[in-house]
């Protein structure tokens, strides 16, 4: 019964989500040519710079370094953009929630979806680059949507949790900024995991984003099907985070009225 009510609410405001996505998409891509250009160029430029800086250092240990780099960059950027925007999404729109019954998580969903569309656009240069660098074509490559999908589910869960707590603690934004900055270094984007001493590596293993990036690299570049254990852990991270996100948001939204 309660489930149905939530689902009914979601369906009722689906047109709203559509309008939001349409609006954000227009602002980002339609009304500005540079929006499109930047989305495509940004990962390429990053990969280019980092390749120049680090390729001599990691050339021997990392094959197809630019792709290695760009794949990590894509997933991390997606996660950081989506969660950062979601964190402020509810209280930034308090004027809407004071006047309409719109479910507050809709802004959060639209942020994640827009960031995901950007991820899809940005992965075009990765495919082109793979072609240019002669990455061998293989069937395992077709598995590459899997880690991206898992990253989407995981990001959605985190976004919901952050959006809920963002209402209560407005300074969380600054704290989270520091956290995401650290995440840049705690996720192997531009370096191989081997440079981390074995005794500290468990810290890296805790990072679900690294897991998704690893699966993406293994399937896309290195023709390796991830083993069962990795897949199960990766799926659990994603599904459990989303479940937690939904629970937290549902629990907290009843208290929003005191803060909005």
């Amino acid at each position: 019964m309660i489930k149905n009510k939530t689902l009914y609410e979601f369906m009722e405001y689906l047109p709203f989500l559509k309008e939001l996505i349409k609006r954000d998409f227009k602002m980002k891509y339609y009304k500005s040519f540079f929006g499109v250009l930047w989305t495509v160029l940004n990962p390429l430029i990053m990969a280019f710079i980092l390749t120049i800086i680090f390729s001599t250092l990691f050339k021997r240990s990392i094959e197809y370094y630019p792709i290695y780099n760009i794949s990590g960059h894509l997933i991390l950027t997606f996660f950081v953009t989506a969660t950062k925007q979601s964190l402020t999404s509810v209280y930034f729109h308090s004027s809407v929630f004071r006047k309409f019954k719109v479910p507050q998580y809709m802004y959060c969903l639209s942020n994640v979806i827009i960031a995901f569309i950007t991820l899809l656009f940005s992965s075009i240069p990765m495919l082109v680059l793979a072609f240019i660098l002669n990455v061998p074509l293989h069937l395992t490559m077709l598995l590459f949507p899997l880690p991206i999908l898992l990253a989407l589910i995981f990001t959605l869960g985190c976004s919901l949790i952050l959006a809920a707590y963002g209402v209560f603690f407005r300074d969380l934004y600054h704290l989270y900024g520091i956290l995401t900055y650290a995440l840049n270094f705690f996720t192997p984007i531009f370096y191989p995991i081997d440079i981390i001493p074995v005794e500290y590596r468990f810290v890296w293993d805790f990072n679900p984003l690294y897991l998704y990036i690893r699966i993406l690299r293994e399937t896309f570049i290195y023709n390796t099907v991830p083993n069962e254990k990795t897949l199960i852990v990766a799926t659990c991270y994603a599904v459990l985070t989303l479940a937690l996100g939904i629970l937290v948001f549902k629990e907290k939204r009843g208290k929003f009225y005191n803060y909005l």
Binding site: P15, M27, V102
Partner: protein, 262 residues
């Protein structure tokens, strides 16, 4: 007997004022260390009950801060009451204060679809009402102008046109006609009476008591979150007016006494 459209039963609404100040992690920890996390309860509504049949209209009167907007937001389902129950039948179009939910950088056209979606309506549904909305709001020449360039009167017109053209079963209008010129106010009042004829239930708040008397059949007088009087619009409004006049007279007397002392 017509069916019940809105039923408010023993409703209490409490705001925790300490939470209003406590919106940062820093503050939260400071308060926690100091053992300062207790509640600062504020009851915006206490023991409010009333009932409306389908097609009836009620005006809420009361001074600023008496809880009118809070009550309307509870009925619209924007918040849940702390105690008590609220029953509503059918769709609700809330129209609470001016300019609600408009995106400044988008055009009037885009905002109609966005605002319609906030009411829970699809683009197709709004498309059919688009011309009617633009005509009623008298914005034919401004369809593709960003609404940030609109005056507050134009925004109020647009909001009113959207909320009243979607044919909801219950329309909630909170001080929406306080801006805009007299001619448009008249037009809005005409539309409200035609909605009433169609069987729409209306909850109406206005600072203009005469407008309430003209529009509504019933009235509810709230003061400090409590119901003072509930009944026929004339009786309630006359009593409320008398109360306001009394208050003004007393304030003047106090002022005069002070002046004398000085």
């Amino acid at each position: 007997m017509a069916e019940t459209s809105v039923k408010v039963d023993n409703v209490y609404m409490m705001f925790n004022l300490s939470k209003n100040k406590q919106t940062s992690l820093k503050q939260y920890f400071i308060d926690m260390v100091k053992g300062n996390l207790f509640f600062d309860e504020f009851w915006a509504l206490e023991n409010v009950s009333f009932e409306l049949k389908k097609g009836e209209s009620i005006g809420l009167v009361g001074v600023n801060g008496s809880g009118k907007s809070t009550l309307l937001r509870l009925i619209a389902g924007i918040m849940e009451p702390t105690h008590g129950t609220i029953y509503t039948k059918g769709t609700i179009a809330p129209l609470i204060a001016l300019g609600g939910g408009f995106e400044p950088t988008l055009s009037a056209r885009e905002n109609i679809y966005l605002n319609g979606a906030m009411h829970g309506h699809s683009t197709n549904f709004m498309k059919k009402r688009f011309d009617d909305i633009i005509t009623f709001a008298e914005l034919e020449e401004f369809v593709d102008v960003p609404v940030k360039n609109f005056s507050s009167g134009m925004l109020a017109r647009l909001g009113f046109a959207i909320a009243t053209s979607v044919h909801a079963d219950i329309v909630i209008a909170d001080e929406v006609l306080s801006v805009g010129d007299a001619r448009f106010r008249k037009k809005c009042e005409t539309r409200i009476s035609s909605l009433l004829k169609e069987g729409t239930t209306i909850l109406y708040v206005s600072h203009n008591i005469n407008s309430v008397i003209k529009t509504c059949q019933k009235a509810l007088w709230l003061d400090k979150g409590r119901v003072i009087q509930n009944g026929n619009v004339r009786e309630v409004c006359i009593a409320y007016k008398r109360y306001i006049e009394e208050q003004n007279r007393m304030a003047k007397e106090v002022q005069a006494l002070k002046d004398e002392k000085a």
